[in-house]
Symmetry: D2
Subunit: 371 residues, 4 copies
């Protein structure tokens, strides 16, 4: 068993999730490489110290450069705001350190491309954090599609819908400022990643993007919301299939609406993250009077489930997705084989977002490759 020193940038929601994952992943997956929590970095020294104690890090800092420079830190997890991703990643890669970077990869396509280039040059493991696609159910969905069980895919529908800004009375905040923090910038990457993971490249698309609540209250009175609340996209995939995406942070009633439905010539499937331990599968070759959607409960026969539990239907949760990511990151470092999704995969998501904005602004179909 070999140890590997971990540094985590970010002590919020995602920083914590990765810290917990790094604490648990060894026992869960019996990984060859075992993480040692070396340095955590958050915005203030006091905060970093507090988080360091809570999560069990050896050292803490308010300066990510210190973390990146720390010789004991061999791999860096970037879970800080997206405007910091590029600089941290480039610095870490330049020092030969493996990097796991939360979605979205960079602030826009340009930054993401820089990061991909830097990763390629470094030879280090690089991975983008799209945790929802790591559930056993979504991994199974990918297997089913890839194996051709559904035949040729004819239609894909995806959505990422939540309602945390549905109430018009909610005040302005960092979430309502700046395109990167908007619905397309912050919420869409997960389901776009799922779309690409399940169906392959998008050839062309047309998007409609909207700020539903254009002003929000603030202590200084009403202020303008400077990013989008919801968006929809129609597309065609390289494989010819038709597709549709809907992303919203104002979808009243939806809590974790990471949903996809896939129709093929021989079958169909659907998934809803709000019931993440089930996958619904329809097989066209079933006996005609016994056909229907089958609710498959994930279990030890499905990807990455058994290490969490020997019984089917016992269920994995949000935190387990992050543990699976940690396992793959460590495994990639140990074996030298790339970990999916790479920075490249992260960059492709930015490309779709950029194409969507362009389409929205020009009110026309856009060839994704042209962006």
């Amino acid at each position: 068993m070999t140890r590997i020193g971990i540094g985590i940038v970010g002590g919020g929601y995602m920083g914590k999730a990765h810290a917990v994952a790094m604490s648990a992943v060894g026992a869960v997956f019996d990984t060859a490489l075992r993480p040692t929590l070396e340095v955590i970095c958050t915005t203030t020294a006091e905060g970093a110290a507090q988080k360091g104690r809570q999560f069990g890090f050896a050292r803490s800092t308010a300066d990510w450069r210190v973390l990146v420079d720390d010789p004991a830190v061999e791999a860096v997890v970037i879970a800080s705001p997206q405007e910091t991703h590029r600089d941290i990643a480039l610095a870490a890669l330049a020092r030969g350190k493996h990097v796991f970077c939360e979605k979205p990869l960079g602030m826009g396509l340009g930054e993401s491309r820089e990061m991909v280039a830097a990763a390629a040059k470094s030879g280090c493991v690089n991975m983008t954090g799209f945790n929802y696609i790591r559930t056993p159910a979504s991994q199974l969905a990918r297997e089913i599609v890839a194996a051709g069980e559904l035949g040729d895919i004819t239609y894909f529908r995806g959505e990422h819908t939540e309602d945390f800004l549905a109430d018009p009375e909610l005040p302005a905040s960092w979430r309502t400022e700046g395109r990167a923090n908007g619905n397309m910038g912050d919420l869409s990457p997960h389901i776009i990643n799922a779309t690409l993971a399940l169906l392959g490249p998008v050839k062309s698309l047309i998007a409609d993007i909207e700020t539903v609540h254009s002003t929000r209250s603030s202590p200084q009175g009403p202020v303008a919301v400077t990013n989008d609340d919801q968006a929809q996209i129609m597309c065609r995939f390289a494989n010819g299939a038709m597709g549709s995406l809907f992303i919203s942070r104002v979808a009243t009633g939806r809590k974790m609406g990471y949903i996809y439905e896939i129709f093929g010539t021989r079958g169909a499937l659907r998934f809803d993250q709000e019931d993440q331990n089930a996958l619904w599968l329809y097989k066209g070759d079933a006996k005609p009077d016994r056909q229907g959607f089958t609710k498959i409960l994930t279990g030890p026969l499905h990807p990455d489930y058994q290490p969490f539990c020997l019984g089917p239907g016992h269920g994995t949760g949000y935190q387990d997705q992050i543990i699976i990511e940690a396992k793959d990151f460590l495994q990639a470092i140990a074996t030298g084989k790339p970990a999916w999704p790479t920075f490249e995969d992260g960059m492709l998501v930015n490309q779709i977002i950029e194409a969507a904005w362009k389409s929205h602004e020009e009110r026309r179909w856009i060839d994704v490759a042209s962006v």
Copy 2:
């Protein structure tokens, strides 16, 4: 109790449904006007005689003009192929007879406009057959939206998906020939009607329409399919809401996917015709830790349910939708008040279809009013 003589054109699926409805509606709803089944018309004299016996008509014919001219026929139900709708309707209206015409109203927008004009001129009751919107659940949905229970509507998603042509091995047939018999021509009207009924007018749209299986087998070898298999539409409504439609006859696994979801600032609802006796409602003002979608089972407190059954959750079915239509048609005749949906409502559906084709062909957003 007054009798009214009914003639039905069409002895197939829909003709039968209307014949059964006319037999049952009086007892179910205690209507003021009671239908007498006078004449049925189907394509052959023998067939018409057989259907006449089965359904209990006094006379039968293979010529719809005979039916329309029959002095005992006071109201005509048109359930024949759509290419016949206009001529029959115009003839009947010209003779002062009330007309119920199955969807889609005419072959294209032009015909439908003619029919609307003829109806207006005649002063007769005119009604278009969109049965799915008549379930107690969908009537309740309309009430909820109209009463503002969801607040301002922000997003609508509708689909009409079935899979009767999903199998690429199915041979060519009348269904695969001619735009009117295609997915947009034949399947889309129901959900477009629902869309308009629930959200009001569509301002602009962009569509993508596809023939998924472009050839089908026939006794003479492979033949080209000359209409579409699936289509998707993005739109903006006059009230500002964003919307999305998907219509498919190749959606493997879907049997009666007449589905809609509506998000508003204060609530949300969803409906799936495959479970037609339930409506799912989310109220944003519920206690925060008790919020969720509520599965409302239709019952006597909801529109047009009680005449079928005194107990909630006992359920109505497909045939009952047609009986509700028959009730409203008879009531309109009896009271002289228009019956929803009128020919005008049917025509507005054709307008959306026409706009969708235009948008598809020109690959751009189309203002619906311009069509």
Copy 3:
């Protein structure tokens, strides 16, 4: 096409349902025998006349003897209160008239046995009305079990739960008086019939029966409730399987909880009348990592569905169950073959109820055959 004269006793909920069914059944099923609505009987002459007009009967009466004696009445549908069932049935059978009698057959086992004997002696068609078991889904369930698709049955759970008396503030009424109108007397027969239809005879049982709300308000002040609100039963079937039943009229939230689940060595199924167009089937021999319950939507391939609708998933409802019963009743008369469920089947339900009461009173297991 031959006509048959029908008399219906009862103008309430069930009388209406049968009147509608007799109006529609010919067109729906193209029956050989076509009903003519001759006489309706309700409690008052005025009421009978009104219902006769509404439902389309030729004559009406407040005296069921007049109906039974009417020479044009060839078949009698008994939809009046249960205390009247025996006398009407015996009189009708004595006059050589076919009898359809609503559940429960007689007031207790003794009356039901008299009715079975009278029916046997008469040679007339005799049928008991258990409509819920006539849905296409429940007919399919019976086929699946009978064909051995589930292997040997190991466990059965059934319930009939509604909540129409759940509110303790509801006043006393005829429903809260007399054992026959109680939960076991009035509500249990449907699910007991389903239990027998699906699993075969019950060998032994133990029951616990309870009056949850023992007093109810009345204009004269609080009065005692003299029948039961809920009951549960454990049993063993003749085939060795274990079983459980729960019947309640105070099951808050349940509207039409006619639910059963069946486990066998090779499969399982479950059904809930609140979603009556679906049957959930689990096949143990499915591929291990693709196993799960399949939601089968009923369609034209399933029993008695196609005459209502050519499309799967379009759905049948409560009224359609009564039409299916009418079809089988007419067919039995036309062919001379018994119609399931016969009076014998109705009597077997009474036997279970009687055994349950005995078990409850003696607080012990009871051999059903001993009752």
Copy 4:
């Protein structure tokens, strides 16, 4: 932050789950006490060493006495076979060490009572492991019932159903030998605990217990199965409510059927562990035409959810339940306040099991307090 030395007896499924939980709990819940993994004990020295490495323990042993005697071990988690529970617990308590013992507490009621007495005498923290009741959803259910939101409870239905021995072809194993390893001994404790936690004490019960597959294959030919496969119980609670339990390891199709439904005079709820992040609640005081079961997705407003995730509907899983248990165990040690469920709670489950066997054998109602 204070450290506490942990010893875990058992390196299988549950031992691993507790080891992972002890690794993660500090970071997740920011506990005052932080576990140090001191000693693990499994059946062989090699196995223990391997598990020790995998889970991160400082030392390992094949002798639980060594673990219990280890001065660095301050708290012991017992996750070994149930026949070892008593001896380990008694030894640990005698040495003043806190004990968390997996369900079922002891081998039968007698052992459990010994353990309760020993715990009381020791003054140490004692806790029984019933993880399923620790989901946010089930904790919420307990709150709802306790707060009287459902009014007076009238009926409870619980089941614990799985299908791991449904296939009659599965060979004999330790699972099919000995009452303690049977369905009642091994599977029933979780749902019995839930029953008591939700409804309070059971006053009387009657049970039927069955070995469905009485022989199983073995290398030596067919051998007798010496424990039960399924059981059902009817009961009355001390609060007067009626109840029903079904426990089965041969319930084909059920993977994690830990299900309960509760009816009260003012509401109802239901829960199914196969969708553990949802609780269905019906409120009788909702507007009559908007009533129905509401699917509440657990989120940060519900018990023990927020430390895992800030977003509602993101979901917790099986492993998280164990982390919640670890948190409560550590907190009880830190604060000196008892941790629910105590050994006493574990013992009460054994009492129900013993009463059920007695009832089954004597075929009669049993007063639970008499056992």
